[in-house]
Every structure is written in structure tokens, then in C-alpha cells.
């Protein structure tokens, strides 16, 4: 792909400042069912995305139909879309950061992983899942492997590249006792094939499903609670969405006017660490700005909002390297969130709340959580904690509250961090109260 030709053609068309992003993706996915490969899928796809400034307005166009006419299509698209834009926000194509902290995160071992070896392991996993407990009624095993290469170029000569790869294995288990059906899954998400630990996946999912039988209901009311790390991750993601400078500037964030104020419990510290070398490593953002590690919430105090170039200019500050998404306007997102560990083990957290509920999963976030206000009402699953110990499972309960209030009332933070699918690494946390409805 001759990007110089694109920039020349753009210039001839009155688009002096523009960027061109080329993304290439390869994937493999395999599903097993009843000891056979039920689905096997491979792909190779690519995309060209172009954003440019025409008559002082930003336009955007993208295509997957990549041939000799693509550049003309993209340039016409930029002009057509830019013509309609009315906002007075000054569009910015970035000249480049002083320094970029590039690291190689591409796993050659994963690239070279032989498909026959993958299949052998998946079959072994399915067999072990089927045989792990007499109550097992169905098992599914899903595997996927992705490889993505992004090349970001612009008319100022910026030329940034990143190549990532990862794999995901999901082991799902259904158990049945009389009419009671329970299910759950365990997973591994990594770029190192050695992390595919069959026995661990089986043990984790078996434990999760087994524990769900003979659930009981509890009285409606307020309870002390321990939220499992995956639940904390979902909530922290919503809180950090409210740190977006765009939401703040447009008066739709609960955290407006709270910069450098203590809003959360002093036990809460959250960092955005895009340069940490894990699966979510990213050294430039979607405007080409160099990313850097930073603290967002320190001991409950908001240290910074998240900025892209446009919102930073408005607040007379600099971008935090959190531009996210593609279009004529670019959004804002955290990149690689970490909630700092506390000192308590999970059992310590149970002992600290003594009596209450341990919430292990929440459902329906898109409908039951308002990330602007922080109010939530969600379907949940978990266990009753009595005298510091897990006793009965709780199914089909709801938990409600307000995120900002909840995270201001932390009893203790655990030390059992795990990274979720959505780039949040968090431990379990004990809170003073959550509203539970079950009966």
C-alpha cells in the first residue's frame, strides 16, 4: 500500500492534513461438541480508515474493498462527510509525540502454535470436563486465536505500527440434578500457549458450577458485601468511563467538578497502565499520541480526567493519550486499568464482613447500569456469608445501589487480582452495603 500516494491525492483534493490507518486481522476459532469439531472458522481481513480535514472540518471514511479505487473512495468520503460538519471544534491531525515507548508484545510462540497440538489439548479438555463429575450433563469447549496488525500514518510523516496476538479458551459446563440446571465457565486469555492449563480450567469451572446447587433466598434488605474481582472490574470500568473529559465537558458525568477531590474511599487506587506489558499494551492512542502510565484515582482522590486532543485543547491542557475509536470525531477511553491490590485474602474479606453476601457474577449491565449517574440494579449470583464463611448459594437475586456511593464505602481491598476481557485488572473488594432483593 503506497500511503504517500494517498497523502498526495488528498492534498490535490484540498485535504492537507489527514491520517490513514491500515488494520489487518487473522483469526482462528474452534468449537468442540460431543467430542467432535462442531465449528472451525478461519479468517483474514483488512480495513483502511481515513480521517482528514477539509475546509476546516473533519471527515471520515473507511473501506474493506481494497483495490486501486480505494484511495479515491476514501478521499471523496472525507470530503462528503466534512462538508456537513457544523461544530466549531477545531479538528486536529497530530504532528507526533516527542517519544514513543514501543515494546514488542507479539508472541512468536503463539504464532507458531501448531493447530494439531491445539486440537489435541482441546479434546483433552473436553474429555476431562465430561469426566469431572457425575452431574455433568453438557460440555462445550471454545477456542479462538487473533492476530492484529495496525499501521497508523499521517500527512505529517507519523508512522506507527503495532502487532498483537492473543488466544482465548472458554470451558463451559452444565450440571443437572433432578430439575435443577446450573452452568458456568472458566477461561484463559493470554498470548503464551503455556498458560493453557487444562486441569486448572476444569477445576475452576467444576468448583463454580458445583457450588450453585440448593440455592436459597434471603430477606430483602441491605447487606455487607464482598464483590468478586470480575464484578469489581465491571464496576470500575463504568466509573472510569465517567472520567472521560468529553462526558465532563458535556455535563453528563457525575464526576464533573470533582478533579483533585476525594470522591471515593481512601482504600481505592486505580491506574491506567497502557505501557504494562500485558495483552492490552498500547504505545500510541487512536490519534497517534504516545500513551503513558498514570494514576487516575489515588487513595480516593481523582488525579486526572481522561483526554484526547480535542477535549484537552478545550480545557487548556494536553492529551492523556486516551483517544479511542475511529470516525470524524474520536472518543475517549481508558486503555489498561489496574485497581491496586490491598492486603486481604478472599477469606480475610469474608471475615471482615462476617455476615453478608458474596457476589460472584452480575448480568444485564447494558440495561441495568447507568454509567452517567452510577445508579445500578442488576441480576446477580453469589453466596451467603455467615460467620465469615461461605454457606448457601444465592440465585436469581438482584443487587442495587449507586457506584459512586458504593466505592466510597470500602471495608477492605483483596489481593487476588485477575485481568478481565475488558482490560481491567482488579482484586475482590469488601463493601459496607449493597441492596439485595430476592423475595
Amino acid at each position: 500500500m503506497n500511503s504517500n500516494k494517498f497523502f498526495e491525492l488528498a492534498k490535490e483534493n484540498g485535504i492537507n492534513d489527514c491520517e490513514l490507518v491500515y488494520t489487518k486481522n487473522n483469526s482462528l476459532s474452534i468449537s468442540l461438541f460431543h467430542r467432535e469439531i462442531s465449528n472451525y472458522s478461519i479468517s483474514n481481513s483488512s480495513k483502511l480508515e481515513a480521517r482528514g480535514i477539509f475546509n476546516n472540518k473533519a471527515g471520515f471514511c473507511s473501506t474493506e474493498n481494497i483495490d486501486s479505487s480505494s484511495f479515491n473512495y476514501l478521499i471523496n468520503g472525507i470530503k462528503e462527510t466534512a462538508k456537513l460538519i457544523e461544530t466549531n471544534e477545531e479538528p486536529i491531525i497530530f504532528k507526533g509525540s516527542e517519544k514513543y515507548y514501543k515494546k514488542n508484545v507479539f508472541s512468536k510462540a503463539l504464532e507458531a502454535w501448531d493447530v494439531n497440538d491445539i486440537l489435541a489439548k482441546l479434546h483433552k479438555l473436553e474429555d476431562k470436563l465430561r469426566d469431572c463429575d457425575p452431574r455433568v450433563s453438557e460440555v462445550t469447549v471454545d477456542f479462538s486465536k487473533d492476530e492484529t496488525e495496525t499501521v497508523f500514518k499521517n500527512s505529517f510523516g507519523l508512522n506507527l505500527k503495532q502487532k498483537n496476538n492473543s488466544f482465548l479458551v472458554v470451558a463451559s459446563l452444565v450440571m443437572k440434578v433432578d430439575e435443577e440446571v446450573k452452568d458456568d465457565y472458566s477461561f484463559v486469555l493470554s498470548s503464551n500457549p503455556d498458560d493453557f492449563n487444562i486441569d486448572l480450567l476444569v477445576e475452576q469451572v467444576k468448583e463454580k458450577v458445583s457450588a450453585k446447587f440448593n440455592g436459597k433466598t434471603i430477606k430483602n434488605g441491605k447487606y455487607k458485601t464482598v464483590l468478586k474481582r470480575n464484578v469489581v472490574s465491571s464496576f470500575i470500568k463504568a466509573i472510569c468511563d465517567s472520567l472521560s473529559a468529553e462526558e465532563i465537558q458535556k455535563h453528563s458525568s457525575h464526576l464533573e467538578g470533582k478533579l483533585h477531590q476525594k470522591v471515593f474511599s481512601s482504600k481505592l487506587t486505580v491506574k491506567d497502565l497502557p505501557l504494562n506489558k500485558n495483552l492490552f499494551f498500547k504505545y500510541f492512542d487512536d490519534e497517534g499520541v504516545a500513551t503513558y502510565n498514570k494514576t487516575l484515582i489515588k487513595n480516593g482522590v481523582i488525579e486526572t480526567y481522561l483526554y484526547n486532543l480535542t477535549t484537552a485543547k478545550k480545557d487548556n491542557t494536553v492529551s492523556t493519550g486516551n483517544a479511542s475509536g475511529r470516525g470524524s470525531r474520536i472518543g475517549i477511553s481508558f486503555l489498561n486499568l489496574f485497581v491496586s491490590n490491598g492486603k486481604s485474602s478472599l477469606n480475610d474479606l469474608f471475615n471482615k464482613i462476617k455476615n453478608g453476601v458474596y457476589i460472584t457474577s452480575i448480568q444485564g449491565l447494558h440495561a441495568g447500569l447507568n454509567s452517567n449517574s452510577g445508579d445500578f440494579s442488576l441480576q446477580a449470583e453469589g453466596f451467603l456469608i455467615e460467620d465469615g464463611k461461605i454457606t448457601s448459594p444465592l440465585t436469581l437475586i438482584t443487587v442495587s445501589g449507586n457506584l459512586f456511593k458504593l466505592f466510597n464505602e470500602i471495608i477492605a481491598v483483596g489481593n487476588d487480582s485477575e485481568t478481565s476481557f475488558s482490560a481491567v485488572t482488579s482484586p475482590s473488594i469488601a463493601f459496607k452495603n449493597i441492596m439485595v432483593s430476592a423475595s
Binding site: 474493506e64 474493498n65 456537513l84 470524524s328 440495561a367 449517574s373 437475586i397 432483593s437
Partner: protein, 468 residues
């Protein structure tokens, strides 16, 4: 595009190692998105989604591949990689030529939005936005958007069929944010259709929809918190149908039924709902949001009865999962794009008209909740546990609608809930949504008349309902 000659070559190579069915799915989609923030258009984009998905089936096994490189070399390489999954003799004859499959045009020709001037679309967004922003100063932000998606598909398969299809989806999004004394409330409305530009300019009253959006966001801003507990809930018509979509629709899809992973697997002919409940999934409603001339494997869409008088009578089936069930596909196979292997999905799914009026249902309710509008929901098809969140709800006491309450969520289990529907109204309406599952995000209608569930768990931050 792919020539017939190349399509035959791909199919014959795909079937050479024993596949009993081969399909090529070509897609060329043009999308436009317009976003107006308060009073100015501040975002617009154009996108071309373009590529091919190739599917090989052999008994209960499926292999799928996709690419946007449509050169002969690339497509034959991909087919070869897929075909090595099988290693037996050829089972089906080579294709020499294709014949066009006759399709029933469910969707009538309309004035397509793709032919409308951009400025007209922007003006329409401005009208909606002005109505909302002028309603109340507490509305601090209003984002209106318009998306239009024009898709051309060509399907070739090893039965020698070519199926050509064109569809245009267009949808308006109205999102308002109200704020007062630290409280923030949001509301979204999203009317969508395949009726083209006339739908927005003639069929629906945008002024009224925008006004109602503004009125409701202010109403809910100062509403009390919803009480929690178990009590009767009246669920409004139209978008209220999301309860059936989550509590039953997903569990009737062959993707989970065939693998015995649905609470309703092997239950055909059995009573799963109250006698007064009948339900349909109808992909043949002319130009409706979830309709189509053919599904995404080229089968004609159908009006499928799912529940008749409380008895489970049918599932939503695609040809591949149908093999495990010994049934043929019934026009319910869908996918977001060529990047997804197609599978059984819903189209326009609704609970059929009953005998009660909405007023009768309210009058007969001593103490409960009237849930009018929803943000959406989710379900685990294996256990049947589902949830859905309300965006607009009211307390009903002694047969009268009282004050609004915010933050309500309803949770339940599919097997229980259908038996607890004890009143069904006569005011069926449909509501447009996007449904996400393994074959991507697709347009679906949910629908129902006003219904009452006599006992369901409601979550909220208020106290007991008896305090009202």
C-alpha cells in the same frame, strides 16, 4: 463481486474432500452515520463493508472462513484451507451452472434513504433535537443520530442456487440526558424500519416521539427509587416484548435447542406457558425492522408459530442446527455480516393479541408495578435465568396508576415466568431493537400487547412496595 465461474470453482473445490454442502456469501454494504450533538452536526462517517464468507458443512460439522480479499487466488486458498478439515471422497456432484432461486419479495420497494440528500437527514435530526432541548433547561445534553445501511448480498450454494437480496435498514436514535442536584437521568428512543424515508417523514410522528422522550427523561429524573420484592408487574405493549425475547425467544433458537443447551430442548408439544399465551416469530411482515425476503442462507422467511395456547409448537431453525434436530431450516438463519457464521435467530417476535383491554389489566391490579419502557436485558439460555431493566415504570395501587419510579430491574426464570402471565391485552405493538448473539448484532422487533405477570422478582433501591 464473484463471477459464476469462480463461484462454481470454489464450491467444487470445497466439496472435493467430502463436504455435503458448500455456500458462498458475498456482501457489499454501505453505511452512513450522522450524529447531531445538541444543535450541531458534529460527526459523520461513511463505511464500506465488503467481503465473502465461505461455509462447508459435513453432517454435524461446520467450517467457516471469511476474507475481504476477493481475488481468485485468495478465495481458492481459503477454500482449500477449509476443505482440508474433511478427508473423505466427494459426496455431492460438481456444480456446472447456477440457477436463480425464486424469492418472494416480502419487502416492497420504497423510497430508499440512500437517495435522500444529506441535508434533509440533518434537518430531521435538528427538528428532534430542538423539540427536546426546548422542553426543559434541565435537559443538559441531547444526541440524535441517524444510521442507514444498504446491503447487497449474493449467495451461491452447492445446490446450484444463486440468491440475490438487497435490504436497507435505517434508524433514528434519540438520546437525552437530564441533570439536577447531582441526579442524572438518560433516555433513549430508537425507531427503525425498512420502509425507507417515508417511515420517518410520514408514518411516525417525530415531533411527538421527541416530545415524549423529553417529557419522560424529566419525569424519571425526579422519580422515587423503585421498591424491591416479589409482586405483580404489568408490562407495557411494544418494547415490553423484550420480556418474551429474553425469557423465551433465545431459548427457542436451534443453536441452543439442538445441543440440548436450552431449558426448552426436547419440549415440543409440552405446555410451557399459561393457556392465554400464544407467540410468533414472523420474518414475513412487509418492510418491518426484523423482516427479510430470505434469511442469510437463502431460505424464504416464514411466520413461525412458537407457542400456541401455552403449548410449545415450534423452534427457530437454521439448516445446520436443524440436522441435529432432524428438521429443516424455517427461514430463521441470520448473521450481522460476512464476518459471522450464520445461525438461528429471531426476526419479529411477539406475544399474540389477548382479550383484556389495558384498562382492565390496570383496574384488576391491587398493588404492583406498571413497567412501560425498557433499556434491554439478557438471558442464559441454558438455565433460563433472565433480567431486563426498566427505563420507565409506575406504581399501580387499587387499580390506578400512581407515581413514577426509577431504577427497576425484573429478574426471573424462563420456565416460571411464562406460566405466570395471567392477563394478556388486545393492544399488540412492536418495538425496534438490536439483538446480539454469536452471529453478531442484528435488527429485531420485539412485541406484545400489555400483559400482566402475577409474580416476579423486582430489584430496586426503594424499600417495600407496601410503603406506597
Amino acid at each position: 463481486m464473484i463471477s459464476n465461474k469462480l463461484a462454481a470453482e470454489i464450491i467444487n473445490l470445497g466439496s472435493s474432500t467430502g463436504a455435503d454442502f458448500v455456500e458462498i456469501f458475498f456482501e457489499n454494504t454501505f453505511k452512513k452515520l450522522y450524529v447531531l450533538e445538541n444543535k450541531e452536526l458534529n460527526e459523520m462517517s461513511e463505511t464500506n463493508v465488503y467481503g465473502v464468507g465461505i461455509r462447508l458443512l459435513k453432517k454435524f460439522q461446520s467450517v467457516y472462513g471469511y476474507t475481504n480479499d476477493l481475488s481468485k487466488n485468495s478465495l481458492l486458498k481459503l477454500t482449500k484451507e477449509l476443505s482440508v478439515s474433511f478427508n473423505s471422497e466427494r459426496e455431492i456432484p460438481e456444480i456446472k451452472e447456477f440457477h436463480a432461486k425464486k424469492i418472494n419479495k416480502i419487502n416492497k420497494k420504497v423510497n430508499f434513504v440512500k437517495d435522500v440528500e444529506n441535508e434533509e437527514i440533518v434537518n430531521l435530526l435538528k427538528k428532534c433535537s430542538n423539540t427536546i432541548l426546548n422542553y426543559d433547561p434541565r435537559i443538559v445534553r441531547c444526541t440524535t443520530s441517524f444510521s442507514v445501511k444498504d446491503t447487497t448480498n449474493v449467495i451461491f450454494n452447492s445446490k446450484g442456487e444463486i440468491i440475490k437480496n438487497f435490504k436497507e435498514y435505517s434508524r433514528l436514535g434519540i438520546n437525552s440526558v437530564a441533570s439536577e442536584n447531582g441526579k442524572i437521568e438518560t433516555r433513549f428512543d430508537g425507531p427503525g424500519s425498512q420502509l425507507g424515508w417515508d417511515y420517518f417523514t410520514k408514518n411516525i410522528n417525530l415531533e411527538e416521539i421527541s416530545y415524549e422522550n423529553a417529557k419522560k427523561v424529566i419525569l424519571m429524573l425526579n422519580a422515587k427509587e423503585c421498591p424491591s420484592g416479589r409482586f405483580p408487574v404489568i408490562i407495557g405493549n411494544g418494547w415490553g416484548g423484550v420480556i418474551f425475547h429474553e425469557a423465551c425467544g433465545h431459548q427457542l433458537e436451534a443453536s441452543s435447542v439442538a445441543k440440548n443447551l436450552s431449558v426448552f430442548s426436547n419440549m415440543k408439544g409440552q405446555k410451557i406457558a399459561n393457556d392465554i399465551v400464544s407467540a410468533y416469530d414472523d420474518g414475513t411482515m412487509s418492510n418491518e425492522w426484523g423482516s427479510n425476503n430470505v434469511d442469510d442462507e437463502g431460505n424464504p422467511t416464514q411466520n413461525n408459530c412458537l407457542i400456541k395456547d401455552g403449548i410449545l409448537v415450534g423452534y427457530l431453525i437454521d439448516d445446520f442446527n436443524g440436522r441435529l434436530m432432524n428438521e429443516k431450516g424455517n427461514g430463521a438463519c441470520r448473521r450481522e455480516s460476512y464476518k459471522y457464521e450464520p445461525t438461528s435467530r429471531m426476526s419479529n417476535t411477539y406475544i399474540a393479541k389477548g382479550k383484556s383491554t389495558k384498562d382492565e389489566i390496570i383496574k384488576n391490579t391491587k398493588l404492583g408495578l406498571y413497567a412501560v419502557s425498557f433499556n434491554g436485558g439478557s438471558v442464559d439460555p441454558t438455565t433460563g435465568d433472565f433480567n431486563f431493566g426498566c427505563s420507565e415504570a409506575y406504581i399501580v395501587k387499587d387499580g390506578k396508576i400512581l407515581e413514577p419510579v426509577r431504577g427497576a430491574i425484573l429478574v426471573g426464570n424462563a420456565k416460571d415466568i411464562l406460566k405466570h402471565i395471567d392477563m394478556v391485552g388486545n393492544d399488540v405493538a412492536l418495538g425496534q431493537g438490536m439483538c446480539g448473539a454469536s452471529s453478531g448484532s442484528i435488527p429485531v422487533n420485539v412485541g406484545q400487547p400489555t400483559i400482566r405477570v402475577d409474580d416476579i422478582v423486582v430489584g430496586g433501591r426503594g424499600g417495600s412496595i407496601n410503603e406506597f
